[in-house]
């Protein structure tokens, strides 16, 4: 009797084994796959937050053209068409040598500058098999003023026209809604306007991006600038607030800011308007991305 029951139990057990074989198969496969590294994507919609770079990079072989504008002060009134009579721009071309390495070159109206940068992704935020709480990119930027200084004496050395800046871009995507970036920044000017001006400026930037709907986000940027250059001119910390929209090839940013410049030094260290007194301007960027050597669809 006992053995018969035992036999029945065995048979039932075997049948259940057989019935679950597909799930076993799946489990076997999952075991083989191991846990994947789940990289966080879309921390920001584009390689820029508003004016400043974000920790995002263009994917390999991508070429991007970007036009950044800043208009005049809105409170300049109707005689200046609320600032639209007045604008400065920055034209830029970027190229992605690798997914982790972008370079770019641009030209700014202000001071007739030529600027170039190289940007590296060092860490990617991830979960799963490798847990990394933040993404980290490093950007090194150089600006060269082609415009002559007013004082002829100052035009002797070409290297005097150079300004270097570097930033660590540390970002974290907290959820599908919110991403935050911290940007320790260091700027070195080879030649400054007066003796009381500093050659080196340190700043700490904060950026944030908040998803509103689909491809729309509200973005913000702010820089605490360590010590402002000179007592004779009053400088302010730059603040930018705006909207960002992205399509498959284009990214648009429209924002208000108290900064006039677009390149690092003029944006971060040379802002002379006070946001809270209403000395704000409209900023508008548009960028378009192409991918070179696009792999053709297999088969």
């Amino acid at each position: 009797m006992c053995t018969k029951r035992f036999a029945l139990l065995l048979v039932a057990l075997m049948v259940s084994f057989a019935a679950f074989s597909q799930d076993d198969l799946e489990n076997m496969l999952l075991g083989e796959m191991g846990e994947p590294i789940d990289y966080t994507i879309g921390t920001f919609l584009s390689p820029h937050i508003l004016n400043n770079h974000s920790s995002e990079l263009i994917g390999k072989n991508g070429i991007s053209f970007r036009v950044a504008h800043k208009f005049g002060k809105i409170n300049s009134g109707p005689s200046h068409f609320y600032g639209f009579d007045d604008s400065n721009s920055f034209l830029e071309a970027d190229y992605a040598i690798a997914d982790w390495w972008n370079i770019g070159i641009g030209r700014a109206t202000l001071d007739e500058q030529v600027a170039g940068y190289t940007k590296f992704r060092l860490l990617r935020q991830s979960t799963g098999a490798r847990v990394m709480p933040v993404s980290l990119s490093l950007i090194a930027n150089a600006e060269y003023a082609t415009q002559n200084f007013d004082n002829e004496e100052r035009n002797k050395n070409k290297e005097d026209r150079l300004i270097y800046s570097s930033q660590l871009l540390i970002s974290r995507k907290f959820s599908n809604i919110l991403s935050v970036q911290v940007m320790p920044t260091f700027i070195h000017r080879n030649l400054v306007a007066t003796k009381s001006d500093k050659n080196d400026v340190a700043a700490l930037g904060l950026g944030a991006s908040c998803k509103v709907y689909s491809n729309f986000r509200v973005n913000a940027e702010y820089f605490f600038v360590q010590e402002h250059n000179t007592p004779s001119v009053e400088y302010f910390n730059p603040l930018s607030l705006g909207l960002c929209y992205q399509t498959s090839r284009h990214a648009f940013e429209v924002y208000v800011t108290n900064a006039q410049g677009i390149t690092d030094n003029s944006y971060i260290a040379n802002t002379t308007n006070d946001f809270f007194k209403g000395d704000v301007r409209i900023g508008f960027n548009v960028s378009t991305v192409f991918t070179l050597g696009r792999k053709t669809a297999a088969n």
Partner: protein, 183 residues
Amino acid sequence: MKIKLLFLAFLFVLGLNSYGAKYITKTGYAYFKSHTDAIDIDGSNRNVAAIIDPATGEIVVIVLIKAFDLPLATAKEHFNETYMESDKFPKATFKGKLTGLEGKTLAVDGEYPVTAEGTLTIHGKNQEIKQKATMKVKNGEVSGSCKFQVNINDYGIVVPADVKNRVAQVVDVVVELSVKPQE
């Protein structure tokens, strides 16, 4: 005596269950293409995992959504965030059976038309599908390929109104698997 016999029978059945190596791959290929007049969006994935039990014809395929590469510059974010919601639904799976292999062993070179029938899960939604596929055996290497179409409506994938004309309702999919006996 009886118990011994039963035990032996049990062992035998257990042995049968695991008899015959499973065929497996972790580097299978999946490709999709959304064609509209406005734009073609495609993506490929070379990390498709699949397992086939040649004894029963059962097959499981697992595709990690984030492993798709989309050559269009900003498409990967849209694909993962807006359409596939890969944080919520990290993988697509197919669990089913290959029929048409009965009485054939994969040891002989040749081309075998098969039918894959089972449950395809994309974006957290299940659909029963039945597709013709081809299995090839050449020099002991076993590979299979299947072309089919996915209607994204069936899987609850919503296209935002502003890009309706840029994303196809019916997406072409190709899956190619080259499997090896599991060690």
